[in-house]
């Protein structure tokens, strides 16, 4: 990153604008919001993973103290929660899209499925009344395991006659089979990418407020993308026109993907608010979050990597089962397909690749995007199989990677799985990481560990990912039902201060700071004169929100485009006032100058003139200085890098300690290095969490065994080391800022580095694999099993 950048422009480590309110308890999160006359909703949920609903008796609950209304699925005649991406099977037929009613109708399909909602004067009264609802369930066998589900028998959705949502493929299967058959060596691996529970620290919440005077709905909700919620809820579920539905996502306490999706609860209370004519608040308990927030990952994969006599990869064949859970969540179908299999080339020149993905319904919580979404699964698979290939063929871990990497002069590089990488230098990030991580000192550290009776191992991950999710035309051709552009409005006020309206949303990323830095840089005005406004469909033009590390690459590009329009318009005004040709106006450091003269006007003077247009030729020059831009990306962006992990394993207990973790990521141009480092830290912590600690577990009846922090291991401060983090920038070639995205790199690159390090540490025992999360119990057992 640029050293010594001062001030507030691009590259400066500006302290965050939003911190003052967060640090003083003046954040404004959804549950902090209260509306006059507010009621409280409590959702009665299924205790069974799979059951028919024979009857629901709400009579006693309706009569209970403080109860305003009780509704069940029979009362709520609305559309189902939609899925935003249509995937086609290999045979060309469309995927199955079973209905997803906000309140269950006829059947419940996972523990936590919504059965009824009680609305009362207080939350306690709502909960008390819910205990009086009598539901007669006909309990059915639950289907939890994907391969059992694939075989049929018990069906999650009876009407579709199968538990397979789709059977999708990409790449040339015949060419891959032929290349594998001709390979000198084939490495095979079985991979489980463990199911995770996102656990943003702020539980989901919503406040719905229907105003009968003008038939307008206002919904405050914990969302990463309020416009998408408005569109999906309004158009597809409740049939509300968008001008009558305002969705506000105020301060949001973390998302990590889990707050992208349209959920049942916010939909139910929006609908119910009009029925009762009063505002309704719903806030999830953490226990509810565990059984209702969309989970992440959950792949089971078998893969084969062919290698020729020269150590070059010849072909990769991948067969993946991806768990969809009980219903299709908003973007669930796209995750194990276009966000996963398209990344299977990684940073390598593997000439032919084929992947088949079977998406399976089970009686579990729906699975959808979670930090990285598909790309961590691809990176983990690749970096594990490459690690194993190196061990099997006796090639050094770094050598096998370097030998197969795409060369720095090979860009743009077309992979065999649809993507075209625009830029990168994987060798440079690797070299940088080796240096930062002091890999040359590793043998001494290993010896030091040995004197303590500990096994040290080192693991590498040279990964790539794709951000910015794509030109709308490409996404549309692949089945996306939404565009994937972003919007920005730059509203210059008469005195020269600026309000920016962005369709991106910040739930921890710090857009109020970084986006202001960009505007400050572009318009040459001070940051304190710039306000970033987001998250309210009532005042922000349509936007797609924040996910997939897209805010800067797409939203930032839209912002630059809008500031470009501002400069163009302001130049016209300057030309008019200074009686010059617009072509002769130069804009630099906040001043408009007539080229070759000393005639100059400051940005603020032009702003004032724009709103006091006493002598404007109105047929040529409109008053005002307020521009909107929509930016549709030309391609994905491709961040990548090298993560190196060293672990110490205590063979007596199986305890793994991460000791020395290095991440060098190529994220393109860095706007704020402080925030970038923070994003990498957080992502790496989630990646180490996946690798060592976090694993969702169901029993065979579909009861969630990891349903609270008593059993689901969240990474805590003493589980993690300090991280060594650096960036190495090759610029994105197709957006004006040259940025690639940083939100997910940490979570994508780190898990294979950790697991490869553990396998390395245990190689003396003959251990060849360890599945995530590599808990002490699992590591100890692996050592026992290897010892025989």
């Amino acid at each position: 990153m640029p050293d010594g950048v001062t001030g507030t422009g691009i590259g400066a480590a500006v302290k965050r604008v939003e911190d003052q309110r967060f640090l003083t308890g003046r954040g404004n999160y959804t549950d902090d919001i209260n509306r006059p006359g507010q009621t409280y909703a409590y959702v009665l949920r299924s205790p069974h993973a799979h059951a028919t609903i024979k009857s629901i008796d709400t009579a006693a609950a309706s009569e209970a103290s403080g109860v305003v209304a009780v509704f069940t699925g029979a009362d709520m005649e609305v559309g189902g929660l939609p899925c935003g991406w249509l995937i086609h099977n290999e045979d060309g037929s469309p995927m199955h899209e079973p209905p997803h009613p906000p309140l269950a109708v006829g059947k419940v399909r996972h523990v936590g499925d919504q059965v009824a909602v009680v609305i009362a004067e207080s939350l306690a009264e709502a909960k008390n009344a819910a205990e009086l609802i009598k539901v007669d369930y006909g309990v059915l066998p639950a289907v939890i395991d994907m391969k059992t589900a694939e075989a049929g028998g018990t069906l999650v959705h009876d009407d579709i006659g199968t538990n397979k949502c789709y059977d999708w493929g990409i790449g040339d299967k015949d060419a891959v089979d032929a290349a594998l058959a001709a390979s000198a060596h084939v490495t095979e691996i079985d991979i489980v990418n463990n199911r995770l529970i996102p656990n943003a620290m702020e539980p989901r919440a919503a406040v719905a407020d229907f105003n009968g005077a003008n038939s307008e709905y206002t919904l405050y909700t914990t969302s990463q993308n309020p416009h998408v919620i408005r569109l999906l809820m309004g158009a597809f579920v409740l049939s509300l026109p968008e001008h009558k539905l305002r969705v506000i996502a105020p301060d949001v306490g973390g998302g990590f993907g889990s707050k992208i999706f349209l959920y049942a609860e916010e939909t139910i209370i929006t609908w119910a608010s009009a029925r009762i004519g009063r505002p309704i608040k719903w806030t999830a308990d953490r226990s509810e979050a565990f059984i209702t927030d969309a989970h992440g990952r959950d792949h089971v994969t078998h893969a084969k990597l062919g290698i020729d006599d020269n150590g070059k990869f010849t072909a990769l064949k991948v067969e993946t089962y991806a768990n969809m859970g009980a219903y299709l969540s908003t973007f669930a179908s796209s995750v194990p397909t276009y966000l996963y299999a398209t990344l299977l080339a990684g940073v390598y020149t593997t000439p032919v690749i084929y992947a088949n993905v079977k998406a399976i319904f089970t009686n579990t919580v729906p699975v959808d995007a979670y930090r990285g979404a598909g790309r961590p699964e691809a990176a983990y698979l690749l970096e594990r199989i490459v690690d194993r290939a190196a061990r099997e063929t006796g090639v050094d871990q770094l050598e096998i990677r370097r030998h197969n990497m795409i060369q720095p002069d090979a860009f743009p590089y077309q992979t065999p799985v649809a993507l075209a990488y625009d830029s990168g230098n994987y060798q440079a990030t690797l070299d940088s990481a080796l240096s930062l991580g002091d890999v040359s000192g590793y043998p001494a550290r290993k010896a030091g560990s040995a004197t303590k009776g500990l096994k040290r191992g080192i693991g590498y991950s040279t990964y790539i990912e794709a951000c910015g999710i794509a030109p709308s035309a490409v996404a549309g051709a692949l089945g996306a039902r939404a565009g994937l552009y972003e919007s920005a409005e730059v509203r210059v006020h008469p005195t020269g201060s600026v309000t920016v309206f962005t369709g991106s949303h910040s739930h921890g990323q710090g857009h109020e700071t970084t986006f202001a830095q960009i505007v400050s840089d572009q318009l040459g005005i001070a940051m304190e004169n710039i306000e970033i406004n987001h998250g309210d469909t009532g005042n922000v033009q349509f936007g797609m929100g924040t996910y997939g590390s897209r805010s800067l690459a797409v939203g930032g590009s839209a912002l630059v485009k809008a500031t470009g329009k501002i400069i163009a318009k302001a130049s016209k005004i300057a030309a008019h006032i200074m009686e010059a040709s617009a072509d002769d106006i130069e804009f630099k450091d906040g001043n408009f100058t007539v080229a070759g003269t000393d005639k100059s006007m400051a940005f603020g003077e032009i702003a004032l003139a724009a709103y006091v247009p006493h002598n404007f030729p109105h047929d040529e020059l409109e008053p005002g200085l307020d521009e909107t831009a929509f930016y549709d990306p030309a391609n994905f962006t491709f961040p990548g890098g090298t993560h190196i992990c060293e672990v110490e394993v205590d063979p007596a207990t199986g305890v793994v300690k991460v000791d020395n973790f290095t991440a060098v990521d190529d994220i393109g141009r860095v706007i704020n290095p402080m925030i970038v480092e923070g994003q990498v830290h957080g992502g790496v912590a989630q990646g180490i969490g996946q690798a060592l600690l976090e694993g969702c577990s169901y029993d065979s009846d579909g009861q969630l065994l990891t349903g609270s922090y008593m059993d689901y291991t969240m990474p805590r401060a003493d589980n993690l080391p300090n991280f060594k983090v650096a960036t190495q920038s090759t610029l994105c070639t197709h957006n004006v800022l040259g940025v690639k995205g940083v939100g997910e790199v940490g979570a994508i690159g780190s898990p294979p580095a950790v697991i490869n390090a553990i396998v390395d540490a245990l190689s003396d025992f003959g251990v060849k694999d360890i599945s995530m999360p590599a808990t002490s119990a699992k590591v100890w057992q692996a050592i026992q099993d290897a010892r025989g």
Partner: protein, 264 residues
Amino acid sequence: MHDFNYQKAGSVADAVSALNAADDGTVMAGGMTLLPTLKQRLAAPSDVIDLAGVSGLSGISVSGGVTIGAMTTHAAVSGSTDVKGTIPALADLAEGIGDPQVRNRGTIGGSVANNDPAADYPAACLALGATIKTDRREIAADDFFNGLFETALAEDEIITSVSFPSAEKAAYMKFPNPASRYALVGVFVAKTAAGVRVAVTGAGDSGVFRASSLEQALSSNFSASALDGITVSADDLMSDIHASAEYRAHLITTMAKRAVTAAG
């Protein structure tokens, strides 16, 4: 949480009579277990009788061993120079209970009365041969813990203090559950005038227990090497998503060795 009557007891006797007067009363010490239980609606007592205002229930005194008032917080025990000077292992144990905020509120009396199978204090009580004093009698630790969440306490009986005799050597080694941070296995070893005692928490199917095979091995030779090759049977140990019974059995010996080494 269901609502209840909240009463602040002025004395132990008050608390006992309030308990007896209530339909379904419960006493509250620090509330670190009771309140989460009530929040989850797993219990619905008619009356919650708070012992916080009862004088004389907290404090630490030293005479031969250590006597700790029932309402003494874990933070007070871990920070006590008296405890550190007399039975440092007990201060170490208290330092490892829960997190700092739990230690600021949670009490020894509450922990012992609750007898959670993964709690730490029961191991210390059993290994050190503590005496649990109540409003009406003294109960030897050996007779006190009766399985999962069960104790010898009568319904209306209230712990007032716990007395720990000094030990020649003692140490507690906890292997925490990665998620809850309760003991997955906790081993308290003590070499006392009455012999070597090894108590294990977190692992047993019926809660805290003494590991006789380890005690025998250590009786003749109180050193870690004396435990080489000594195994604990996995038969009566818990098995769950965090650890198999076999892993717990292995950890018992491993933690016992480390405890013996730490005990010096």
